[in-house]
Every structure is written in structure tokens, then in C-alpha cells.
Symmetry: C2
Subunit: 328 residues, 2 copies
């Protein structure tokens, strides 16, 4: 047996044990597997390949909205209302400018609600250092969470950019959380938001302006594209005292039944995997290129010539690719 084989076998054995332990509900094994996946460890592909056959049965609920909309509190309330084991991914794509803010909120939340004794697994994910993008690593971590037996996975993000939209695509159900008096009016929540929201929540609905905000959202819906026949309901909540949470759970269940009743949910997942396979191929291709076709020294040379203006990247790169790679 070669050394390479020996290393591979040891790795496979290590991964097999780790995945078995996380599947039996070992939280430390789960946390370790997630860290390895998040950090793109050499073990990550093995872990994901071993987890995938045990994934795919959870409901994924995306929750997004402006900072300060009370998403964490809302998600915690929802998590406690769900049947079966729950995982929460708190994704913060807003660093470096507000880096850590959400994590801080989360920790406070967890303490105040005592979630850690509840079988609810909470994981914060930040942008910085997420190789291949935050959407990629969130998707992979969700696979690991599902393999660990979670029946519901909340993916909570701050709604500010393209990152969210990509992350939200992972979800079966997308909840957009608005708050009265935070500028979340018709001017700012434009067409884009209508496309991604399956359910609107107006949180902190005891504040002034909740009625007006509700009317504005409903008015937008009247001229919005049809969303495949589903008109996103508007649910008023006060997450801090639990008001409206039951109604929101009902809305989630109703939407989910509608979604999977005639194949729409399955189509959504197929569309998701279509994009994801392309993205995985892109990553895999680059790995091949970096390993076999293109040394760091060559790359540096091209970069120097381009920076000096003596080489035109828009001519050179297509030529390099055509010269060095064959698609068969």
C-alpha cells in the first residue's frame, strides 16, 4: 500500500467516524464537522459526500430583513414552536463594517431564552475567510446540519445585498421581516423583495405605523408579479412577547404544503441544484487548473505584465485557456 493510499484510508476512516457520531446527535462532532466544512479543509469533500445521503429531508426556512428588525428573536420563537430538532444558521454577510454585531445579538438571545438546553443548535457564520463565498459554505453547512437529524433549519441573514439573495435561494420558505418606522416603506422595499418573499412579517407591530406598512405591502402586491399563484401573506408579530408566532407557523405550514403539493418545491430545488452544480464545477475546474496547469510563478508573470500594461488580459486569458485545456 502506498503512503498516499494510507493517508486517504486514514482520512476516510476519520470522516466516517465523525459523520457517524454527528448522525447519532453528538454536538461536538457536529460542530467539528461544520468547522472543517466552513474552513474548506481537505476533509470537507469527504464529509459532505458522506452527509449528503442523509440530508434533504429538513425544511429550510430563510429569514431576512434589515438590521434591527428583530430577526433573531423571531427565529428563536419560531424554533421553539417547531416539531423535531432545529438548527439555526445565523449568517452575517455585513462584515467587515458591522462584523460580529449579529453574533453578539445571538449570544445574548441564546442566554436570555436558554436555548442551549433545547436541542436547538445555533451556528453563526461570517463572511470573512469563507472560501468560495458565503452562499457556498452556508449551503454546505446546511447539508451537515440535515445529516445530523435536524428537521427544520433556519437560515437567518441581514438583508442588504446580493449575498442574501444567493443565500435565500437555499431556502424552501423565505420570510422577509419588516418593522414599522425603519424606512422599510414602499420607497425602499422595491420589486426585488417581492420576488424573494414567500411570507412577509411585520415585527414590532405594536409600534406606530404598522397598519400603514401593512397597507403598503399589500398595495405593492396588487401590481406585483404573481409569484406562481401564491400571494405572500402579511403576518403581524411582536417577537419579544410571542404575539403572532402561532399565525406565522400556520403561514409557514400552509405555504410549504402549497409549495410541494404540485411539484413547485421540487422544481425550486432542481433549479437550485442546477446553479449549484455549475458553481461546484467552476470551483473544481479551478482546482484542476491550479494543480496541473498553471504555476504561481506563471500567474505572477502575467499579473506583472498586465499591471505594467505590456500584456492585454482580455486577449491573454482566453488564449491561455484555449491553449492549456481541452474539453472532451
Amino acid at each position: 500500500m502506498t503512503t498516499a493510499n494510507l493517508v486517504t484510508d486514514t482520512r476516510n476512516e476519520e470522516v466516517a467516524q465523525l459523520v457517524e457520531r454527528l448522525r447519532r446527535g453528538n454536538v461536538r462532532a457536529l460542530a467539528r464537522a461544520i468547522s472543517l466544512v466552513e474552513n474548506n479543509s481537505p476533509l470537507a469533500p469527504h464529509i459532505l459526500s458522506s452527509c449528503f445521503p442523509h440530508a434533504g429531508n429538513a425544511v429550510r426556512i430563510g429569514v431576512t430583513g434589515s438590521p434591527g428588525a428583530g430577526k433573531s428573536t423571531l427565529v428563536n420563537r419560531l424554533a421553539q414552536s417547531m416539531d423535531g430538532s432545529v438548527g439555526i444558521l445565523a449568517v452575517d454577510p455585513t462584515s467587515p463594517f458591522t462584523g460580529g454585531a449579529i453574533l453578539g445579538d445571538r449570544i445574548r438571545m441564546q442566554e436570555s431564552l436558554g436555548l442551549s438546553d433545547d436541542g436547538i443548535y445555533v451556528r453563526s457564520m461570517a463572511t470573512r475567510g469563507a472560501l468560495g463565498g458565503l452562499a457556498r459554505s452556508t449551503a454546505d453547512v446546511a447539508i451537515v446540519l440535515e445529516a445530523s437529524g435536524k428537521r427544520t433549519i433556519f437560515i437567518e441573514t441581514v438583508g442588504v445585498g446580493q449575498d442574501e439573495v444567493d443565500i435565500v435561494r437555499l431556502a424552501d420558505v423565505t420570510i422577509v421581516v419588516l418593522v414599522p418606522g425603519m424606512g422599510d416603506d414602499v420607497q425602499s422595499i422595491k420589486a426585488g423583495i417581492m420576488e424573494i418573499a414567500d411570507i412577509f412579517v411585520i415585527n414590532k407591530s405594536d409600534r406606530d405605523g404598522a397598519d400603514r406598512l401593512e397597507k403598503e405591502v399589500r398595495a405593492m402586491q396588487s401590481y406585483a408579479a404573481e409569484h406562481g399563484g401564491w400571494i405572500p401573506p402579511v403576518v403581524l408579530t411582536i417577537a419579544s412577547n410571542g404575539a403572532g408566532i402561532d399565525e406565522l407557523v400556520t403561514a409557514i405550514v400552509t405555504f410549504r404544503e402549497w409549495l410541494f403539493a404540485d411539484g413547485r418545491g421540487q422544481a425550486r430545488r432542481r433549479a437550485y441544484w442546477r446553479e449549484r452544480v455549475l458553481e461546484m464545477m467552476r470551483g473544481e475546474l479551478m482546482r484542476e487548473v491550479r494543480e496541473h496547469g498553471f504555476t504561481d510563478a506563471e500567474l505572477d508573470e502575467h499579473a506583472s505584465r498586465i499591471a505594467a500594461g505590456s500584456e492585454n488580459p482580455y486577449d491573454v486569458v482566453p488564449e491561455l485557456v484555449r491553449r492549456n485545456f481541452r474539453v472532451s
Copy 2:
């Protein structure tokens, strides 16, 4: 002559004329070239290849900071203080949640300052639909702007996520704009910001708390990493009345001289192109794969099987890449 050749020749001729016109200062040609590049038209590679030899001589100034920090007003003031022709790229990665907000500001700004008669070309760029990412298209549009003879290019972004950090990498000089009393205190402007700021601006510095904010920024610097020997200055401005703008221009000039004096600026540009070439290769490889190796029907089949759980993407994708693709 084949039809394909004829089409190619017609395209090349069309691009040559367009680039010639934009180089002579024709604003409509410039706008059209930018739109073609932004929308990833089939002409885009030709346009970029034709523009690149005439680019690389402008100073690129990145301006980022929280929404409401007064970046647009500041950039307009700076633009009017610069020698030579100026281009402004107002990048809004925050859609869909605040989509169009910055564009709205910009239009108001332009009207109130009468910039359109000033030789200052302003272009708003939004995330949605930007194929290959906003950083990619901003970089390409900057090349076109430079080819049109702009000597200074401002790249203005709302500082909230990874998109900004990527966009900011295009700049020679990065200005981070803070404002007193907007939560831009030491809690929220964490380590990440120190790495990207070459110059700090405290705008609306007639507000309460400007002194405290200045002290906090300076205090962070005392234990921050060295930034290669440059300690980012803190410039107090009131963009609305022009106070501090001269000092800011001086800071920009000083930083730029320092940056290019001993090769740091050149190294920065090399590092940028190194990443960019890799990214361009990734895009080019995927185009090859999509054109020659992998039909939409095949992709759909894999997506269906994966969504149904009967195929494991973490096994299949690496295998597909190895099977279809040769490094020669």
C-alpha cells in the same frame, strides 16, 4: 468568406468605431460601451480588449462608508477639485432591499450641482443582473472609463459587505467615510475596516461627537497593524459646504505619492491582477465547458437526480470534471 467570419468582421468594425468615438470624448458612445460591458454582451470582450491598451493611467479612488454618510456629496465636491476629466461609478450592492436609493441621491446631487455640464461622467451600477458579479463589472467599466480619457475615477460604494471589499480592491486609494452619531463607533468599525482604509474622513464634522469619533479612530490606529508604514490620516469635512475638501485632496495626493514612490502601488496593482486573471480564467473555463462539454439537458438531468437524492453532487461533480476536461 464564411458567414461566421463576416459576423466577426462586422462586430470588430462596430467595436473599433465605438471605441474610437468614446476615446474622442463622445459621451453617447461611452454610455453605450459601458452598457454593453455591464450586460455582458457578446461584444464586451472585444470592447474591453480594445480599451485596455488605453487604460491604466487614471487614479482610482474608492469611497465607502455607511448609508447616509454623505459619500455622494463628498465625491461630487472632490470631483470638482480634481485636474482633468473625472468619472464617477456609483455602485449599489445593497439592492434589492434598498435598490435605487443611491441612484436617487445621485440624480438629486447631479441636478443640484449641475455636474452634467462639468465633464464629469456619472454612472450608477446596481447588483441585479450583473453577470459574474458586481466587482467584475465595476472593474471592466473602469477600464472603459479610463480609455475614454478620464484622469480620475471615483468608485463610490455603500460599505456593508464583501462586495465592497472586492470593489475597493480596484482602487489605488481607499477613503472610508464616517459620520458622528451614526453608530460608527469603535464597536462597529472593527479590524476589517482598518485594513482597507488609506484615509479616514469624518464627514458632517460639525455634528456632536466628531471629536470623540476622531479620537476613537486614532486610538484604534495605535494598536492596528502597520499598513506598510502609512498611518491613515483622519480628515474632518463638511461636504455640504465644502469644508475640509482641500485638506482631503492634499491627503489623497500625499498618499498617492507615497504609494507609488517605492513600488507599493505597482505591487498592489499586480496583486489585483493576479486575482483578476484567476477569476477571468474561471469565467473563460466555464464558458468552454458550457459550449463544448456539458449540455443544458445533461445539467438538468443531474440537477433532477440530485434534488431527488439519487445522485450525490459531492461525488458526481469532481468526477464529471475529471472525465470531461483535460489539462494539456
